[in-house]
Subunit: 380 residues, 2 copies
């Protein structure tokens, strides 16, 4: 098998960018990744672009601005896992022997395109009767509290941790730490979740350049990080949703990734997981097998998920702190893991990081419980 | 290299389907392809779904209806080449050794989503000042007439041929042949192009099931057709658009495909090409090297591109006759080629067909001349 490596990463400042668009952001992230890889733009042989709301030919518009049009590019969409599948498809093109050096880009100008989490899609019957995303996670939070005897106050420690990490990340949307009191007193969205339990509406782009073994040698790529697994699953149908406090799709996708990478959850040094809501982080890390079921919030309370803890979770700030420009999110997770595994994460550095895991879970679709889940494993 | 085969194909009736949606159409096409392949739904290991306007998680909605959610699925978008890239990405997943049996689906409920070719995208400056798709092809037609001394009357023979072929295709949007007089007297759209020179707004879905060599043997797939090449290129930037009557992107993509397949244009038995407008068929077959530059309309006049002619072009009816449900088009071309290469095309059968070529060219994007071009070669 042709091993695949990440040889360069880059991202824009995440945040509100009223004067920019997804093309412009995509160009900036791509050029940053090209510089980081130490290659010339013309050495890119193909590209994948993940986004959700940016319309036709998104990636082509980015390549045109760089003067790189001509190479194969495919736009991919898998809801909140769109950026992660851009990485996955890029890795498959390399493993197929089709290309050696491939760009995986994610870009989203969400502030100009998103109608808001509370406005359901016309064909989403559940959302139309009130089961919007915040409501889904609010129900899961309540059930989690009941099942495991934990409290609203303990849940507030997740946004506190992630926004504290974000304050150490120059590319993050949020620059200031928050206290548990601020989380608990922020505006209610769907009880028990408040504003600071929800990931924000963010613009941004992130890019990673992947290369096969031969290209890594040929380019003399320093600090290439191996993509040991890139697993994808579609959710189960609604008729078999599984328990509310555990995610079968996250669990199954993780098993695929661990098997491919030849590791187990005990080998993971740090994880970037899809904390679209505070409670989601608990569901994810437990589904991934990184923490025992029902015990994550106590682990957070004990500092185990901090940078410097037993298993740092979302050292980048995660979606809650770094922001969540949908298509960019999955690639930005890879950007963080690569920086951590290279030892270039500055104040956020996880000492001795050797194995990084990234997890995305795309939203819901009519008839599907969890439209798309990805787990990627990167190894130094 | 792991050779890739098409082991099953299916499609819906193309046309106006006011009472259906893209999910429903996608389910019908997928089930038809599964039946045609003689496999069980559960034998599909992964899927790609091409569409343009159907919103988030399109393919996931189809899988959920079939009860097949769980397997990896990626939605892909490359404008009018979206279905073709679903086929390409499916083939890469097989060549990578990631999956053995993969669905490539294209589906589009265009009548409910398309705002019309004359309504430009907000960020398409050229279209906003009048250079919409029909206008672009009208300019090309005029220039082609001037450069090569052919006439409007000769151009009318392209829709006549394609709609005659469509009348032999039970899945085609148009059921009736038209005369050259009817083409010339149809409503003007962008001079010299009239209504019957333009592909219609069509709903439909098409599906192909791809398999690697080992799976073909394991499944005992009868009549598997080899996908000998699946090439993709992004258009050049506007600053280097090339001559109006020749398509560098089509030419270059074809060279990629011929090289990969180990054939030349002289080996092609029949071609399905992207005749979004009558003049486009001439530009495509000449760019592909299937007919000499500037001579295609005379070739059509001599019957060379007819079923039974030297090199049948669009025996399915093409976009002009079969219809053009954007995401479905590239897969429907593969459906036609597989049926032809198996000798199952009924009244449309091209005798002795051995090598089929499919060509798509996706529309324009801001800054890009031709957003995405694909050329696929299938060999019996």
């Amino acid at each position: 098998m042709n091993d695949v490596y990440v040889i360069g990463v880059g991202m824009t400042q995440f945040g509100k960018h009223p004067d920019r668009d997804a093309t412009d952001l995509g160009v900036e992230a791509t050029l940053a990744a090209i510089r980081d890889a130490g290659i010339q733009p013309r050495q890119l042989e193909a590209a994948y672009c993940g986004h959700v709301f940016q319309g036709m030919a998104m990636g082509q518009r980015v390549l045109a601005q760089i003067g790189l049009a001509g190479i194969p590019l495919t736009n991919v969409e898998n809801v909140c896992s769109s950026g992660a599948v851009a990485v996955r498809e890029a890795s498959l093109a390399i493993r197929a022997g089709e290309h050696d050096v491939v760009l995986a880009l994610g870009t989203e100008h969400l502030t100009s395109r998103f109608r808001g989490a509370l406005t359901p899609d016309p064909d989403d019957v559940e959302a139309a009767v009130g089961l919007t995303m915040p409501a889904v996670y609010a129900l899961r939070a309540r059930r989690y509290f009941e099942d495991y005897g934990v409290t609203r106050e303990q849940l507030a420690l997740v946004p506190v941790k992630n926004k504290r990490n974000a304050a150490l990340n120059p590319f993050a949307h949020f620059k200031e730490p928050v206290t548990a009191e601020q989380v608990l007193e922020s505006r209610p969205i769907a009880e028990p979740l408040n504003m600071l339990d929800c990931s924000p509406v963010t613009d941004g782009a992130a890019a990673a350049i992947l290369a096969g073994e031969a290209a890594v040698r040929r380019l003399g790529a320093v600090g290439a990080i191996r993509l040991a697994a890139s697993a994808l699953r579609t959710g189960t149908v609604d008729a078999e949703p599984g328990p509310m406090t555990f995610e079968p799709i996250t669990h199954a996708t993780a098993q695929d990734a661990y098997e491919r990478a030849g590791i187990g959850p005990e080998d993971v040094s740090l994880a970037e997981v899809h904390d679209c809501f505070s409670i989601a982080e608990a569901l994810r890390v437990e589904g991934l097998g990184l923490f025992p079921r029902g015990e994550y919030l106590q682990s957070v309370e004990r500092g185990e998920a901090e940078i410097g803890g037993r298993l740092p979770v979302n050292p980048s700030g995660g979606l809650l702190g770094k922001g969540h420009p949908l298509g960019a999110t999955g690639v930005a997770q890879v950007v963080e893991l690569v920086r951590q595994l290279r030892g270039e994460a500055g104040e956020r550095q996880v000492e001795g990081a050797k194995v990084g895991l990234a997890h995305c879970r795309g939203g819901k679709a009519a008839g599907v419980e969890g439209a798309a889940c990805t787990v990627q494993v990167l190894v130094r």
